[in-house]
Symmetry: C2
Subunit: 384 residues, 2 copies
DNA sequence: TTGACTTACGAAGGAGCGCTTCATTAGTAG
DNA sequence: CTACTAATGAAGCGCTCCTTCGTAAGTCAA
């Protein structure tokens, strides 16, 4: 409804160009006839459209497919390499970066370890190194990149300023968007990491195709990301998904059950304790099993709140502990069934550690699509 | 993004027609020049567009405004009366109906009392009487109406079947949409009453203009309605907003604090007890004040869950008890401030008892707008 | 009442975009 | 080598919007 606007003939051409681009992005290389049919245009018209798109660098010809009847048809494909996107995951211990083409196809990935208590400069330098590494790996220059999309823990306000970050002390009150704009001459997007992970699941993970998704980040810290109507739901102050802050939802202290389980041998480093408990539960250790049960019991309360409030199509279990989804998913389902009106589908994430970087890329692709296909902004967003 | 599609010249005209309609709906009667400017068209083109719209019955001329410089300009207005919408609120004790024009301007309203335990036939007959009354009052015929939009308590599935309704026994498992289609030859919409009330607040009430709104239905029964991105959020199985089902959210039994307050004289009918307590608290009765405090304490938990999860722009306090918002709103705000990361604006509903009927109308208008302005469906949705 | 000024109207001519049609071309199948 | 298939490219048409310009219908001031 927002993007109905009138205009002259050139607008029609713009619309048809975008339709063509979209069809090519979705369905790979297409012949002129196929493209024309999909877009509802005649072939001669579509020819002009593709000619223009080729001139502008959005589309290129590929060799015709062989072995077909009749004269071989030209085929066109979207030039996903006419621009590039960078995704970054700023975690406590690691900074991951990835570079992708405009389709979100990942072309290079790097990782830079960083101490959680590293001062600001060190952390920013690590980001710069990670991104530079990606560019070098894929032989891409700064000018080839259009957008950088960053995910980080904590609450980031609408302007890209870090409001709150329990895990990374140096991060608090930082104008992250400003820093990034200083470092890179690209459009800057910033989002909370749980929301980006949710995005990744909804676009290429186990929740592909679902419009309303609740993503549970279960790990040493708890978090949640919401996809509503196929889009990241940030909330008015970019503070959505913070159910962990509500004591009655019992998320905040839930991981304690796993960390302090009596089965864990003394001297286990704290970051390994939960993993140990989960493994022990898998192997039948009754003490560990009980700890996991208490954990899931708490986890279920906050999760039920989200399910009851939103009635999502799917709940995805992600985050560090989701490697133990075999021990967690079934008990969680049982407890939710007792609490919820309508049970959503429940699945475990399969994307692993790259899930936030990948989500950052997907978020950028989504953003780009909006810019391209929301016909409001600007004349026509085609470049050379 | 979903509604970018190519097309020929007629599509451009369609786009421009819709733009004109939208401008006229939003900004009242406009001259040709004003209209052309808003739509970004030249005057001659806009003239043709309006000519066509007048031929089709969507638009009509009004007398030119006087006292202006230069030759008086023709003015056009959207003919909101070229179609009508019916809204119905099926409550436990009352059935309300309203008839509006396409702008949602209410032209007639009726109310039919009905016993909560009335059998199905009686209830359906009351609906029919209420609607017929509206038509008679406004001298509208069945053929003038396009759509009926119904709000009712309980959970209604996506197909319009009542899944669950604690308050109205006869309602359970009813194919309400089917019944309504049998009764009226109109397009049928069904929604939960809390969601419709939320819609009313977001379109014409205290939350006007807000995109993300949490509406609290506080009364003898508790409920919630969500507006996300300016639209009613139903959830995948139309079961959103049911936080009352979660014991830990402490909504379900919250009204008990008001009903069983020691200040209430013996013999007070149960439906008046809460009102009595709230009034007593307003007058400074310490026992009642304490009961209200306990009530708000519980109310705040479920509300905080919604605010933390969604981070809405605004929370609206509605439902029967919202008449006592002066006693409730401030304490609720205090408790939320202690729990939430970012405080949403908080307001009390002002729409009163008609809020659900009005919301039903607004929902229908919204739906109509979607049909009109989502350029996908059908050729061009213009009628005579 | 008249003349200057302002603003809208309506008709004419032109440009851009998409459509249909048809002869031509480049393959495969027998 | 011929028949068949399917895409190509050019020509001509119609629709929608644009610009331009002379005309019409008001207000304002003398």
């Amino acid at each position: 409804m927002a993007d109905v606007r009138g205009g002259d003939l050139s607008r029609l051409r713009q619309l048809n160009s975008l339709t063509a681009i979209r069809a090519l992005r979705k369905a790979g290389p297409l012949t002129l006839s196929a493209l024309a049919e999909r877009a509802g245009l005649s072939r001669p018209s579509m020819k002009e459209v593709t000619d223009e798109l080729m001139r502008l660098g959005w589309v290129e010809e590929v060799p015709p497919s062989q072995g077909t009847m009749g004269r071989p048809a030209r085929r066109y494909r979207f030039r996903a390499d006419s621009g590039h996107l960078v995704g970054v995951d700023i975690g406590g211990h690691n900074i991951r970066a990835a570079l992708s083409d405009l389709d979100g196809e990942i072309l290079a990935e790097t990782r830079q370890p960083v101490r959680p208590d590293a001062p600001l400069e060190e952390r920013l330098a690590a980001i710069e190194r990670a991104v530079a590494g990606c560019l070098a790996l894929s032989r891409t220059t700064v000018a080839d990149v259009w957008m950088i999309s960053v995910g980080t823990i904590g609450v980031i306000d609408v302007a890209g300023r870090v409001i709150y970050s329990a895990a990374v002390p140096a991060w608090r009150d930082l104008d992250l968007a400003g820093e990034l704009r200083r470092m890179f001459p690209w459009q800057v997007l910033i989002e909370n990491d749980s929301r980006l992970a949710a995005m990744a699941e909804a676009r290429r993970g186990v929740a592909r195709g679902a419009r309303d998704v609740v993503f549970l980040h279960v790990g040493r810290r708890m978090g949640a990301g919401l996809i509503i109507g196929g889009k990241v739901h940030r909330g008015f102050g970019a503070a959505s998904g913070e159910i962990v802050m509500l004591p009655e939802a019992r998320w905040f202290n839930a991981p304690e059950h796993l960390h302090t389980c009596a089965s864990v041998p003394a001297g286990t480093p704290p970051e390994d304790a939960a993993g140990y408990t989960l493994a022990a539960a898998r192997n039948g250790d009754p003490v560990a099993i009980e700890a996991v049960e208490r954990y899931v019991e708490d986890l279920a309360v906050g999760t039920a709140a989200m399910v009851l409030i939103l009635d999502p199509q799917m709940v995805v279990l992600g985050g560090g502990f989701s490697r133990s989804a075999d021990v967690l998913l079934e008990p969680l389902r049982e407890r939710l069934e007792a609490r919820c009106m309508r049970m959503p589908e429940m699945r475990a994430s399969t994307l692993g550690d790259e899930c936030v970087v990948v989500g950052a890329i997907d978020y950028a692709v989504n953003h780009l699509d909006d810019q391209l296909f929301t016909t409001d902004n600007g004349p026509l967003p085609l470049t050379r």
